[in-house]
């Protein structure tokens, strides 16, 4: 309004009003379109969010629907006779003799007794194949625990073979033509008869949680991998937490601002983004090739994962230290504490919950990591449950990778089952981190 040179519009109020009207009309006419664009834009956003959530549900649904059956296993009821001539021909009932007994014959006799009409080598072998190899071991353990069983009969539930298990769980369809399923009509007939006699039952799959890896799906368990993961994480935690906290304390509380500390900072940020497989290459070249540490050992796995999780822990610990207000430090220094005393006695305890949260999140990341461990040979097929830091071992995610590669149909549910176990551990760790944060978080 204070414009000193009056324009034509100002001189002529009518023209100005007309122009104002025209603008308003223009705006009003475009409003509909603009509001439509607004709604469209908002819908895109909503769509993106729902898509993300949909992915989460789809992922979990596909894993749970494939994997929940892994927690049950099919058992067959057999009437076995522990005939002395098969088990203990010498008749001494010594554990060493009993261990050598021919339990295969015992199981086979029980199967033959159930189906006396079966003849011919190939058919018989098929019949025997309905029961898992684990049945022999089970019987052996029973007899060794109780030698009085020799010469008697009893009814036992033994593991069924994986293809029987798949049929019972409905993962192999009985109605498809015989050439499209892995079990033939004869075997289905036997299975039907067993089911009619009430000799087939699905029970909780204890072996899945107490067994090591196996080539036979029905015997494969996750305990070996869980223990391997445990040992690896212990090494990782024991190394990365103290080192990470110490590095963070130095950088945050002591380091002078100079080229070296700048370099360290840039370095840590970059290391946090280096692909994990590169750490595997480092581990292979340095720990195994140069230092000669054993392959497949949790110790080496822990070292590699330490290097990988260190940046995460350092960054989280620095954030925790930063959140401690300077007044705490000033008060301690004012009371005559040295800098080391200030940090160790006052700042560090206050920052500890934040650091622990960071450490747990780093550990959760390490638990889910598999690529660098492939490089250092933790992919070997290992049946025994590892007992220490240098035993050959594998870890849960690598076990998932190994089973996912196995051709047997029954390994699909095992893999999903192992994934569910892994996700449970991750859930617990993350929940602990969240709880810790909410319990001890302090607003200054």
């Amino acid at each position: 309004m204070s414009d000193p040179t009056p324009t034509a519009a100002m001189i002529d109020p009518q023209a100005q009003a007309a122009r104002g009207r025209a603008t308003r009309e223009k705006v009003a006419a475009s409003l509909k379109r603009r509001y439509r664009a607004e709604r469209r834009f908002q819908a895109y956003g909503m769509l993106a969010v729902s898509l993300g959530i949909l992915f989460v549900f789809f992922l979990f649904y596909s894993i749970v629907s494939k994997g929940y059956t892994a927690f049950q296993q099919t058992y067959v009821k057999l009437d076995v006779t522990y005939s002395a001539e098969d088990i203990d021909p010498a008749g001494r009932r010594l554990p060493a003799d009993l261990e050598q007994g021919n339990y295969q014959a015992v199981v086979r006799a029980a199967m033959r007794a159930k189906f006396p009409e079966v003849e011919g080598r190939a058919t018989l072998r098929k019949l025997y194949g309905m029961v898992s190899d684990a049945a022999y071991l089970e019987l052996r353990d029973r007899v060794i625990a109780n030698p009085a069983l020799v010469g008697t009969s009893e009814t036992v539930w033994v593991l069924a073979d994986d293809h029987v298990d798949m049929v019972v769980k409905g993962q192999i369809d009985r109605d498809v033509p015989a050439d499209q399923r892995q079990i033939d009509d004869e075997e289905l007939g036997w299975l039907k008869k067993l089911e009619e006699d009430g000799r087939i039952d699905k029970r909780f799959n204890r072996g899945f949680f107490t067994g090591g890896d196996s080539r036979e799906p029905e015997q494969a368990g996750v305990l070996g991998a869980v223990m391997g993961s445990f040992f690896v994480l212990v090494v990782t935690l024991l190394l990365s937490f103290p080192i990470g906290v110490a590095a963070a304390v130095y950088l945050e509380e002591f380091a002078p601002k100079n080229r070296l500390t700048d370099l360290i900072e840039v370095n840590i940020n970059n290391l946090a983004a280096v692909p994990s497989i590169v750490f595997g290459l480092l581990g292979l070249a340095v720990f195994i090739q140069l230092f000669g540490l054993p392959r497949s050992a949790p110790l080496v796995g822990g070292l590699v994962l330490t290097l990988m999780t260190l940046p995460t822990i350092i960054i989280a610990s620095r954030a925790a230290l930063k959140s401690v207000p300077p007044s705490i430090r000033e008060a301690a220094l004012g009371m005559g504490a040295s800098q080391v005393q200030t940090v160790l006695h006052h700042v560090l305890p206050l920052a500890m919950p934040g650091m622990l949260t960071g450490a747990i999140i780093g550990m959760a990341r390490a638990l889910g990591e598999s690529a660098p461990l492939l490089m250092i040979g933790m992919v070997a097929f290992i049946v025994d449950v590892p007992q220490g830091f240098t035993d050959p071992a594998t870890v849960l995610p690598v076990q998932v990778f190994l089973w996912a590669d196995s051709p047997e149909r029954a390994f699909v549910e095992r893999t999903s089952g192992a994934i569910m176990v892994l996700l449970c551990f991750l859930l617990v760790m993350n929940a602990t981190a969240v709880w810790l944060r909410s319990r001890f978080e302090r607003r200054w």
């Binding site: 970059n270 497989i277 090739q289 993350n430």
Partner: protein, 462 residues
């Protein structure tokens, strides 16, 4: 004595030294009442004594352990028959391996050859000797260190300052591990890669279009010539990363916009953790999902449309990788969008812009550098991602831009070349390190650029 028990003994000695040092400081100060005459608290005198007891002793042990195997190996060799010593390098290694196996108990002593048995006995004798010597030396060092400090304890001794210097040195050493790791990565990868480039020229590696990493065991073998042209791998990596970005960037960006600009607090509080769940799932789970659910699904859809889709198509791997990266993009974009000052938005609203116009024309351009930085970081994640592609992408090195065909990536090849028992120093193994070098350098460059952009952007609005 076992090393572990010896370490326990040393720790016990250190605890003892702490007590003695503490007592001594009080004694020289003239009892508990004289403690005020001391320069430092009594516990610092104890700590100083303990440090001088334990640290040099552990250092001696560590140095001894680093060298003793080599020395023992040399000494055992001297005792072996002359014809064994005259063997060429690799044969000699085999013999020594036999000896080591007997020593470790992997092979029973009785089944080994006589010369190996003798060597193993010699080895065991030297080993126990070396352990004894190391133990004795470390013990002497520990006692001497503790004694020297113990004698020097006086009220004027600045024990706290000395202890704190040690603490600070430890802190510095810990923060240097990050640099050591980087140096270790660069050196190990570079060294092996240079060995590889001695066999295969760099130009062939970078520009060659044939990849079949076979090396002949015998020179006259059929198909003895390996090809190490990595272009198909680079192309495959880029193709899968591109597909992943096509999923992750729109979904991630739009959900970040929605959550930051439209959603109310409650919706945000419920939805954000859900999206972040995607970031916490191990990649091997995504790999399984891609290989067993998405791959067959795409194949089925393709069949019903009459298109042939490879069961290990680039599309399946890229799609799932995109899902994995969504939370990464969305949380970074969220940060960047919320960092845009409210005044910019208010200005746009005052001019009559709708919300979406404000976002498109004001907020996004302002946040663009940060978002670009975030996307670059996401690309480097996609390039370095391993498990999804190992499980869901193929092994065949096809040079194609068709996402329905199988392609292979740099990380897949590194894994396939290095998993299983391979001898070091064959071109096949070394090729993996050359690929690792490419991977490391490319992700490093992306990260440095991205972090630079992001930092510049953050400074702009601070």
């Amino acid at each position: 004595m076992q090393t572990s028990t010896f370490i326990l003994v040393l720790i016990g000695l250190a605890v003892l030294a702490y007590q003695l040092g503490r007592k001594r400081s009080l004694a020289v100060a003239g009892g508990p009442k004289g403690a005020r005459n001391l320069h430092s608290l009594p516990s610092y005198y104890g700590l100083l004594t303990a440090i001088w007891c334990a640290v040099p002793a552990f250092a001696v042990l560590a140095i001894w352990h680093a060298f003793d195997t080599q020395i023992i190996t040399g000494a055992v060799l001297q005792h072996m028959p002359a014809e064994v010593r005259a063997l060429p390098e690799d044969k000699l290694g085999l013999v020594l391996n036999d000896v080591r196996n007997v020593v470790a108990g992997n092979v029973p002593m009785a089944t080994a050859e006589p010369s190996v048995q003798a060597a193993a006995r010699e080895w065991l004798r030297l080993e126990s000797l070396s352990r004894l010597a190391a133990g004795g030396l470390a013990l002497a060092v520990a006692l001497a260190g503790a004694f020297l400090v113990w004698r020097r304890i006086q009220p004027q001794l600045r024990a706290r300052n000395s202890v704190e210097r040690v603490v600070e040195a430890v802190l510095i050493a810990c923060s240097l591990i990050a640099i050591l790791t980087t140096i270790g990565i660069v050196l190990s990868v570079l060294y092996e890669a240079l060995m590889f480039f001695r066999v295969v020229p760099v130009t062939e590696f970078i520009f060659g279009t044939q990849w079949s990493p076979q090396m002949a065991i015998r020179a006259d073998q059929v198909g003895s010539s390996g090809a190490f042209g990595a272009v198909p791998l680079f192309a495959g990596t880029l193709l899968i990363s591109l597909i992943a970005m096509l999923i992750a960037v729109p979904v991630g960006l739009f959900s970040a916009i929605y959550l930051a600009e439209y959603a109310n607090r409650r919706f945000r509080a419920v939805t954000k953790p859900f999206l972040e769940v995607l970031a916490g799932i191990p990649t091997v789970v995504y790999g399984f999902f891609a290989a067993l659910t998405v791959g067959p699904l795409l194949r089925g859809v393709g069949e019903s449309l009459g298109i042939e889709v490879a069961s290990e198509s680039a599309l399946a791997a890229g799609l799932v990788m995109g899902i994995m990266i969504i939370p990464f993009v969305s949380s970074l974009a969220d940060d960047m969008i919320t960092a845009v000052p409210q005044s910019l938005r208010d200005g746009a609203y005052a001019l009559g812009a709708t919300r979406s116009e404000t976002i498109r024309n004001v907020v996004l351009p302002a946040a663009l550098p940060g978002i670009v930085g975030g996307v670059l970081l996401a690309v480097s994640r996609a390039i370095g991602e391993t498990m999804i592609v190992v499980m869901a992408a193929g092994l065949a090195a096809n040079l194609t831009a068709n996402p329905l065909e199988a392609v292979t990536t740099v990380t897949v090849q590194i894994v396939t070349l290095l998993v299983g028992d391979q001898e070091f120093n064959s071109p096949k193994t070394l090729a993996a390190f050359a690929l690792g070098l490419v991977l490391f350098v490319s992700t490093l460059v992306l990260n440095v650029i991205a972090q630079h952009i992001v930092r510049k952007y953050r400074e702009q609005y601070e």
